[in-house]
């Protein structure tokens, strides 16, 4: 198996783990980390598959897209963390599970 396939498949695995975590984990920080997992998975797939050129020189277009994507992911993470922090300071909870009130009440 060539190395670009390993990168791409690991990227797919990271994306799936991120999706699972995003659904299962009720805590906001876990959800934010999960979306970062998903993003990193997408980047690995793009970088891995951009390396299939016959010349051996990686395709610059996926690289540029990943570079753009990293900045957007950083921005998304910063905004999510700011919202999570605000939510925590208003409610005292980091958990956004729907069953929370029933459990407390």
């Amino acid at each position: 198996m060539s190395s670009h396939l390993v990168y791409a498949l690991v990227g797919g695995l990271l994306f799936s783990i991120g999706t699972y975590g995003l659904i299962v984990r009720p805590h906001m920080i876990h959800k934010i980390i999960s979306t970062n997992f998903m993003g990193s998975g997408v980047f690995l797939v793009l970088i891995g598959l951009g390396n299939r050129t016959p010349s051996g020189v990686p395709d610059p277009v996926p690289q540029a897209m990943v570079l753009t994507g990293i900045v957007v992911t950083v921005a998304l993470t910063a905004l999510s963390l700011a919202i999570a922090k605000r939510y925590f300071s208003l409610t005292g909870r980091g958990d956004i599970s729907e069953h929370r009130e029933e459990r407390v009440g």
């Binding site: 799936s16 610059p60 700011a82």
Partner: protein, 229 residues
């Protein structure tokens, strides 16, 4: 504790595994070798005088992506500012550092700024560019904030807003100017293409660095007065 619904674990597990299977199938179905756009990009980039192909893609061929990306970064900075709970007073985030951290900071910061400038300058021919340089400037600013430095009194909020937005403003200006002359959006004039890209990169570096530092400072907890009862 409330009992978990039956299937509440199963459905996400199946979703995750199913996604992995689909992605794997898609990846394996691709041809083993594909030149993609690399040949065309390399040829065209060399004609335009930008020999670093990634920079050429970012600012020349797909400049629209980069433009919108800076817009996203600015929007997020504004959003995080509006969510913050403290005022942007020039109070340091932490105590004055000890001798080791202080000496390290004073030594490292000028080097970081030099590295950032180097990244901008070589960005057109070798690995480097506005985002890498902006990240280094951002790291330098965060290091300063964590070692107890704050912005000088003469740097007001207005100056910060200008530094934050100048990259986007100039980029939009350069992008829209050809449209006024009846050409395409982001169509750089051929003779000044390289100089324009360098100017945009330099200003973008400032804005990216400033917004990374602002994101960090705006979302950081104030040192003492932040304790809730």
């Amino acid at each position: 504790m409330r009992d978990r619904l039956p299937g509440s674990q199963l459905i996400p597990l199946v979703t995750g595994a199913g996604l992995f299977a689909l992605v794997t199938r898609a990846i394996l179905s691709l041809p083993g070798e594909s030149a993609g756009l690399s040949v065309r990009v390399t040829e065209t980039a060399a004609e335009n005088g930008i020999s670093n192909v990634v920079t050429a893609v970012l600012l020349d061929f797909r400049g629209y992506d980069t433009l919108l990306e800076i817009a996203v970064l600015m929007l997020v900075t504004v959003a995080v500012f509006s969510l913050r709970e403290t005022t942007m007073s020039p109070t340091p985030l932490s105590e004055r550092p000890g001798p080791v951290l202080g000496a390290l900071t004073r030594t490292v910061i000028p080097v970081m700024l030099l590295v950032a400038g180097h990244f901008v300058w070589i960005g057109s021919s070798r690995p480097g560019g506005a985002f890498q340089a902006g990240a280094v400037i951002g790291a330098a600013g965060i290091l300063l904030a964590l070692s107890g430095y704050s912005r000088p009194k003469w740097v007001g909020p207005r100056a910060i807003s200008w530094v934050l937005s100048i990259g986007l403003l100039v980029f939009v200006g350069v992008a829209v100017y050809p449209v006024l002359l009846g050409e395409e959006l982001l169509q750089y004039p051929a003779e000044s293409r390289k100089a324009l890209i360098l100017v945009i990169e330099a200003l973008l570096t400032l804005s990216i660095g400033a917004s990374l530092v602002s994101l960090f400072i705006a979302s950081a907890s104030p040192r003492v007065q932040g304790d809730r009862e």
